[in-house]
Subunit: 618 residues, 2 copies
Amino acid sequence: MQNSRSKPCSCPSLKLREVASMYLTMVAAFLVILVVALQGSVPQESDFPYKVPLDPQGLLELSWNVSYPEQAVHFQLLIRELRFGLLFGMSDRGEFENADLAVLWSDGHNSYFGDAWSDAKGQLHMDSQQDYQLLGARRAPEGLYLLFRRAFSTCDPKDYLIEDGTVHLIYGILEKPVPSLQAINISALHGGLQRVQLLKPNISIPELPSDMKSMEITAPDVVIPSQETTYWCYMAELPEGFPKHHIIMYEPVVTAGNEALVHHMEVFQCTAQFDSFPHYNGPCDSKMKPDRLNYCRHVLAAWAMGAQAFYYPEEAGLAFGGPGSSRYLRLEIHYHNPLVFKGRRDSSGIRLYYTATLRPYDAGIMELGLVYTPVMAIPPGEHSFILTGYCTDKCTQLALPAAGIRIFASQLHTHLAGRKVVTVLSRDGRERQVVNADGHYSPHFQEIRMLKEVVAVFPGDELITTCTYNTEDRSRATVGGFGILEEMCVNYVHYYPQTQLELCKSAVDPGYLHRYFNLVNRFNDEEICMCPQVSVPQQFYSIPWNTFNRDVLKSLYAFAPISMHCNKSSAVRFPGEWEKQPLPRITERLREPVPRCPPVPEPQPAAPVPLNLGHLRR
Amino acid sequence: MQNSRSKPCSCPSLKLREVASMYLTMVAAFLVILVVALQGSVPQESDFPYKVPLDPQGLLELSWNVSYPEQAVHFQLLIRELRFGLLFGMSDRGEFENADLAVLWSDGHNSYFGDAWSDAKGQLHMDSQQDYQLLGARRAPEGLYLLFRRAFSTCDPKDYLIEDGTVHLIYGILEKPVPSLQAINISALHGGLQRVQLLKPNISIPELPSDMKSMEITAPDVVIPSQETTYWCYMAELPEGFPKHHIIMYEPVVTAGNEALVHHMEVFQCTAQFDSFPHYNGPCDSKMKPDRLNYCRHVLAAWAMGAQAFYYPEEAGLAFGGPGSSRYLRLEIHYHNPLVFKGRRDSSGIRLYYTATLRPYDAGIMELGLVYTPVMAIPPGEHSFILTGYCTDKCTQLALPAAGIRIFASQLHTHLAGRKVVTVLSRDGRERQVVNADGHYSPHFQEIRMLKEVVAVFPGDELITTCTYNTEDRSRATVGGFGILEEMCVNYVHYYPQTQLELCKSAVDPGYLHRYFNLVNRFNDEEICMCPQVSVPQQFYSIPWNTFNRDVLKSLYAFAPISMHCNKSSAVRFPGEWEKQPLPRITERLREPVPRCPPVPEPQPAAPVPLNLGHLRR
């Protein structure tokens, strides 16, 4: 088989080029690219502070840094076992169609790097403007490092705009040589997606006190179940008589080798209304799980893949311990095991750093958005249906101190239909500032994110949270609620100083919704008596959805007065009239930011960059 | 007063520059610009086939031509009495704010030409890209000719996009020198607007037969009333026994000197249902006008300022004369006399060219759009409210010949609130072609326009006519109807071969509208009994307009079935079921055309072009 060209080929349709590729594939299944000009010195670990595995085996590892002055991201991609190339890129929600891609490919002789895009059918095209700029390639014992740079915004309409919030990274591995970029068949690739927050905020780490202690809340040598998705629950306990402390920082503890499996982790504190909680260590959805664990929902710490340590601002810490607070903590770990590894053991968790020297302010968490109620519903078959929850001026007027509060972090939350979430601060009817926005939100990637800028909220301000849902795959209405197939629209904002205000959320007035049901029934000519004993979800499920009923529901939500939950805790409202409140009026919207085009090195011509090929190995 | 600078100035706030201007103004009230480099030879009359006076005195006269290969318009502006400069330009609806302007100005010493724009406050700014390209200036006994060129689309966001349909031209005359472009105070200018169709279609003139005769329908030496607006009515009569002929062409006859006063003219044929009509010669709104003249509404010819002769395609002519057709014609002339000239005499009208050698096809006129009924209404206070009228597949299937019809001209029609009109041809649910569109439609400028391309319509096709209305100045709903404060949405299409189909229009099903009224009443909590004896307009007038009632009306019109008028004449329907018809479904929309950026001479730098000043006179 050393020289297959000299033998007659049994496959008559093979062309010479294909035969040549086959030959090369046989001679060497692995292709090695030698070092190309590496511009500048070898990068240090600290040059790329953020790191995430791309694939579940950890063969591809992405590190990156963010330069806000340059408005660019520098990527370092470690490829542990390079075959005939690699696709790396970004797309709206992780799909391989309409994606923006950096492609490294080999035709069996030479290797090339180029900026490409895929069309709606997944066909690859070279980009007319080369915006993934190759900075270098480096061989190391662990694999090949590729270094490249990408401006946030390129002003090439085929390019992905890198924004705050979630970015869906995609990767694909070329198992065979390809004659050209256009010849790559995306649907045949071994590939996948990874969600990250690329544009990490550029905030300095506050000084930590010398009396700082740490505590690990970790899983006790769990055998990761051999199934794609597991939520693991483990109950931990603070020492008896543990006094009030401030959590001032926390970080993930991930068992070595499991970096690609541990998807996200949260530590919840249980409610103080029960004196004790059962110990439990097992899947969260098990029938064996004691019901009482449902009362452990107060978030103390949350981490997701790609996130780093979380630091509280130096004036504030999160109180835990002491009288009036439960000693019981629940650790929840989401294991993502798509390759269904068996018998993998894990002791991951979160390490809390805390101090007895209390900081000036307790930090608090406030829920913004929609009340968990079925009156807020999404018709089926919608591509982008919008629901909005309000925290009104009347509530902030009553509940916030005159000096205001400072929001420093935010965790956005919806269930499975959520696609975008944004909270905007409005004052005197004018939108002033985005508190947090994620235009590529995924319910599978919920982190607590530090804000780039602390947002000051004063009495009389309004906080408006808008969620966009996709229900194209559903055949009946999706109502608000706790169930995984019901929906939420929430922004948990982390702020200080803590106030009594725990919930500032809204829902449409139920009386107006009732009128909507009547209207829809009468209009649709079906003289069904909407008896009051029929539940709101049942009424939504029975609506014959058409454009009219859909449009009128939209009009209702945009018009009807709201019921406000301006609450001290989920059950206790601030005193006042909170029913049939007027919708906040917005007279001036924030402008969409105009993306800056790259102010930096000229884009390179639309031709692939040839790479210097070294020896072949297997 | 020869040297005012040597005298003390009585006005202490005057600056030197202003004093200098005053001096120059006194020395010479008129400024003359000598010939600048005129590129190429002196233009011929035929180089600029289209001509329109800009001002009511006819001091400014615009001629132009259109180059479709270059995608540009060449302008020749004759300025009969130049003072210190001139503004000429275009804006959405003829306003001086947000306008795109070519400016010729003098500081008293030098004259300049530049491309400018005005902001929302009317302040002038030099354009960063100079897209009005000065080609030359020429002195002649009658005045100064300025020649310049403008691409349809410049890709400068401050520039006006020249599209098919109405263009609102504006002009302003500088009475005093100005130190700079920025110093021009638009609100103090003597100026105005003129509407034209700039992009005349580029169609060749069909050959005319040798036996062609002509007939003038002209006003008999009318004294134009000394008021801004007059509609003059004059009854004419064909000879007795006048046999069937084909009108194959017509053109305006405008009394010399009245070019700026005769705004538009139409010739209507009366209905054959009356044997005779009274002779009348007077204002159309006079109480003396016999009511029977209201039965003279069948358009034979229509002309508006700036339009040229109208030619029928060589296969077709408009039948008139012969049995079954009335001998009586009504000429209507709109005199626009804003300067209130007194005693001006006029004998304008239309010259019809016709032949007894009938062409293969009779031409016909068909009405598309909305039925004249109050069920189609526009809420008050709307900036852009859209109503749509349908000519359904079912109607065209029944009424059109298998070989289809050819639409060659179109006259769009609304009343005072109309802002845009468009008709689109759809086939199998996919929009295929724009029949006629006017994004700057004005009810004050209704011409019959030749289409750039003849549109073939086959049985089963749908013709969808959409009108956009502005009711910001109204406090109650505007319903459909004949009144000037009621609305219409009509496209009169001229086509051949003539069919029996005269009307293909729609309106919302009245039963669904009734449900809407019920719904609105119940929803708004006002238990008013909408007694059936209350008229539709009264019901619309009694609606408390808010965003909900407005949005639901929109949803209703986008959803409810329609009542079709698929009629042989306004009273006789084609046989079939025409009530509660489904709305046409559109699965694919036409794409907005992407404006081509100028492929032609590079834009000039953003600096005014100095002009060579000659001697001063007066």
